[in-house]
Amino acid sequence: MPRDNPEAGVRRDAVGVGLAVGAYGFAFGAASVSAGLSAWQTCVLSLVAFTGGTQFAVVGVVAGGGAAGAALASGLLLGSRNMLYGMRMAPLLRVRGLRRLLAAWGTIDETTAMAQAQQTPALARVAYWWTFGGVYVFWNLATLLGALAGSIVDPTRYGLDAVVPSAFLALLGPRLRSSKLDRRIAIAGAVIAGLLIPITPAGVPVLAASAALLLAVRTRGRPS
């Protein structure tokens, strides 16, 4: 295939990201119905909230019998990173009015990463919108299929329960490589959560892991 047009390459990559995310969406759909949400509720989360990590966190707390408040709080805390992405994407996309709302809706890990990886602002915009489109279509189709499959068979039989921690680790992977502080914070978060699992209600271990940020506050004042 000729590689003369960088835009075509970006579009292909965007669709590829969408397909990969689809596998994760299937796991989400299945996990969500086995947690006790209906197929409709599962699909509304993917269609409107449209942010995978948050969706998994929310249904994870529900599956563990945690309080709705804890589920909502851990979901929103995790979703707050999309706000940061929006702050970075706003000057690049330069959108106004309704298009701004649409751009915000698509502001997630994958779209931001794809856009930020491009050499020019024009390519970044192509990457952003195409990744949004690809991920949106596949994420929602896969959620629906996963929800339907999950209502018929037990998803743990097909190993879908092992997908969730692996997918979270995959999201964390680039950050673990980026700096020592990131690694220390991730490990501290993991240790806090692990210690709290047997002694607190579901949802609390993840919320309490935010305390790991104290490591960053404590080291801030030090000369480096």
Partner: protein, 101 residues
Amino acid sequence: MTLWILVLLTSAGCFALKVLGYLVPARILQRPQVRRLVELLPVALLGALVVVEAIADGSQLHVDPARLAGFAVGSVAVWRRAPFLIVVVAAALTAGLVRLA
């Protein structure tokens, strides 16, 4: 009913957070402390989620050999920088096969 409220509040809240990112003045991010904490928050939460999803069942520690085997293979895939799709499929296949055995 509670589940619908949770679904709707999560959806509305996530959308609001995204929109907020486009509305807040960029100079807030220029404050290094704020930027740093916002960037590091998901790292702490994801670290916690990995552990909770791997070894918890509700508020109990639950060691499921098949789930852990799948997670171990998924972890190696992440470490070897495999694409997301490979990580997900390898983890599911391993856990599924261990359960069949």
